[in-house]
């Protein structure tokens, strides 16, 4: 079992790559679509976990980053002569990083809940601005209607080439996951964790924590922006909903359900939420549950129970199943202490 562990990622990727061929022919397009959304949400959740789970900065305005990427792509692609995709991607990265760094810079002045609230305020302001029916803004933002009917380069059009788009998002997800993994295992990533654990101490060790927080928000924001861009490419529309508190809450939910600070957990969380949503509201569950037991209520209760009894989320539960708790740190400590106490 232990020997097979390094193979696990390969198996997972292989599984996801062959998934589209596993569905019945008449519904495969639909399921491909669902998984495309899952992959995009997974990228988004991943970005949130980098910030909350690893750097310990709880942003209530994460949708701002997602929406920034989405709108950047949408606005560029709606030009009369849309720039090449590479330029769009570059623009999304630049915008994402800039906004992220700007938000990170706020942490110079506020921290803790205050940071959360000010990010909430910023996202909310963006939400209101993009939704506003203002003659100056509307031509750019589309107002309430958003930017519909975006023309995506034919080669990656999800309508015509759904499968191709599936692999594209899968590749993006896997790529960004490994990039994130790399980051948190890098010297920089370790400092992120140090900041989460004890920021004053990290400063005292000689780290300029502001730089790291800037970097963390910029990277997280960039990844979220890329997710937003993918969403726009898939949906061919950008709307102010992308900037809403709901979307931030989604990120939070996916992260918690999956397991904070595990990267893979929030991605699983994204899949869980999307599939649960489909399942709970699908015909099957509706036939099973009494009519008064609304899917939302079931979801709420399941979620509360999860937070209460499985605080480490799905990943925690999985680890528990694999019997990892017996090797918990305290046990390791006690074992380590034993010979010393006798000597």
């Amino acid at each position: 079992m232990q020997r097979l562990r390094p193979l696990l990622p390969l198996v997972a990727i292989g599984g996801l790559a062959s998934l589209p061929f596993a569905f019945a022919a008449d519904t495969t397009r639909f399921w491909q679509g669902v998984f495309i959304q899952i992959f995009i949400l997974a990228i988004y959740a991943l970005s949130y976990d980098l910030l909350m789970g690893y750097t310990g900065m709880i942003s209530f305005g994460h949708a701002l980053f997602f929406g920034a990427g989405g709108y950047t792509a949408a606005i560029l692609l709606r030009q009369a002569e849309p720039p090449s995709m590479l330029i769009v991607i570059a623009a999304v990265i630049v915008v994402g990083a800039t906004i992220g760094a700007a938000v990170g810079a706020l942490s110079l002045r506020v921290s803790g809940v205050y940071f959360s609230m000010i990010t909430l305020a910023l996202a909310e302001i963006a939400f209101i601005l993009f939704k506003a029916d203002d003659p100056k803004l509307k031509p750019i933002t589309g107002g309430e209607i958003g930017l519909q009917g975006i023309v995506v380069p034919a080669a990656i059009d999800a309508t015509t080439y759904r499968l191709r788009f599936y692999f594209l998002t899968l590749a993006c997800m896997v790529g960004l996951y490994y990039a994130a993994r790399r980051l948190i295992n890098s010297p920089t990533g370790r400092v992120f964790v140090a900041i989460r654990e004890n920021e004053p101490r990290a400063t005292a060790l000689g780290y300029n924590t502001l730089h790291f927080k800037l970097l963390a928000t910029a990277i997280s924001s960039t990844i979220a922006a890329l997710a937003g861009m993918l969403m726009v490419l898939y949906e061919k529309s950008a709307s102010f909903e992308m900037l809403s508190v709901n979307l931030t809450i989604q990120a939070l939910l996916m992260t918690i359900i999956g397991g904070i600070g595990t990267l893979i957990g929030p991605m699983l969380g994204a899949a869980t939420i999307r599939l649960l949503d489909h399942g709970l509201k699908g015909e099957f569950m509706q036939a099973l549950l009494p009519a008064w037991l609304r899917p939302d209520l079931v979801f709420g209760i399941v979620y509360v129970v999860l937070v209460l009894f499985f605080p480490a989320g799905l990943m925690g539960a999985i680890r528990k199943l694999r019997g990892k708790t017996s090797r918990s740190s305290v046990e390791r400590l006690r074992q380590a202490m034993k010979p010393k106490a006798e000597s």
Binding site: R182, L183, N185, S186, P187, T188, G189, R190, V191, V193, A194, E197, N198, P200, R201, A202, T203, A204, L205, G206, Y207, N208, T209, L215, S329, V330, R332, L333, A336, M337, P339, K340
Partner: protein, 267 residues
């Protein structure tokens, strides 16, 4: 002629109406072992905080290796070579012991922003961390989470964090606090070693007189924020003002026989 590594000039700090540190000027020679003692609330920690950049002085200056460092931000201090241990243990609780120390070692290097490389590839930090752990006698618990260590070991880890950044000047604020009696000699051993290696200059704040008296080259006594006396351990021990303000009667014997413990003083 030994050169002065750390110098303060008329360093003062007040909190509201309270003058916590008043006009303190000291000079610490490179490679020496300098202790600061004084009653509780004398301003020792505040003085430390100003040298290490944790708080800014109200007035006065701090010089390190000839350069003025007054008011530099905390994170710059480590890079200059000033490291301090805290009176209240401050660690990264849910990181392993090894990771705690590795972070400290890495802080002084130039590789922190190489975010595309795995941290394990930087062997030198790992080695430095191991060396620091060995020095403080914390081997075999590398994978334990810092929060799970017994209090005494946390103090050791605190010290290891400090050593891993290879500071020229070490500021130790009550390193033995919370340690078991049997560990104190061990710690003193470590501090002695550091001192003998000649690479470090050490400033120590400590209330255990046996330790202070046996190890220091020079002692500064603070009282009410100002310097009450300064000199060699013998001179300090003999100073009646110090006895009255700080030592009391309990340690009469210590002053004459630093390593022995008197048993029946009070009964």
């Amino acid at each position: 002629m030994p050169n002065v590594l750390l110098k303060t000039e008329h360093l003062s700090r007040s909190f509201g109406g309270l003058q916590a540190v008043r006009d303190v000027s000291i000079a610490v020679e490179e490679g020496s072992f300098h202790s600061v003692i004084g009653p509780n609330g004398a301003g020792k920690t505040t003085f430390f905080n100003m040298i290490s950049g944790a708080i800014k002085p109200s007035s006065g200056k701090v010089f390190f290796a000839g350069n003025e460092i007054t008011g530099l931000p905390l994170h710059r201090m480590i890079h200059l070579g000033i490291g301090r241990a805290y009176q209240i243990t401050s660690l990264f609780p849910s990181l392993s012991v090894a990771e705690n120390v590795r972070l400290a070692a890495q802080a002084r290097g130039r590789d922190t922003f190489k975010f595309w490389q795995h941290s394990d590839r930087f062997e030198r930090y790992h080695e430095r961390a191991q060396a620091a752990l060995k020095l403080v006698g914390l081997r075999g618990v590398e994978q334990v989470l810092a929060s799970a260590l017994p209090h005494g070991d946390k103090r050791k880890l605190e010290l290891a964090l400090l050593l891993a950044s290879e500071p020229r000047l070490l500021l130790l604020d009550e390193p033995t606090a919370g340690m078991a009696a049997n560990q104190v000699p061990e710690l003193i051993e470590i501090i002695q070693q550091l001192r003998q290696s000649g690479q470090h200059t050490i400033i120590l704040v400590e209330h255990r007189m046996d330790v202070v008296m046996s190890i220091s080259d020079q002692i500064t006594v603070m009282h009410g924020g100002s310097v009450l006396a300064e000199g060699t351990p013998q001179a300090i021990a003999a100073d009646p003002r110090v006895q009255q303000a700080y030592l009391g009667e309990l340690y009469d014997d210590v002053l004459t026989q630093p390593h022995e413990v008197a048993h029946d003083t009070n009964s």
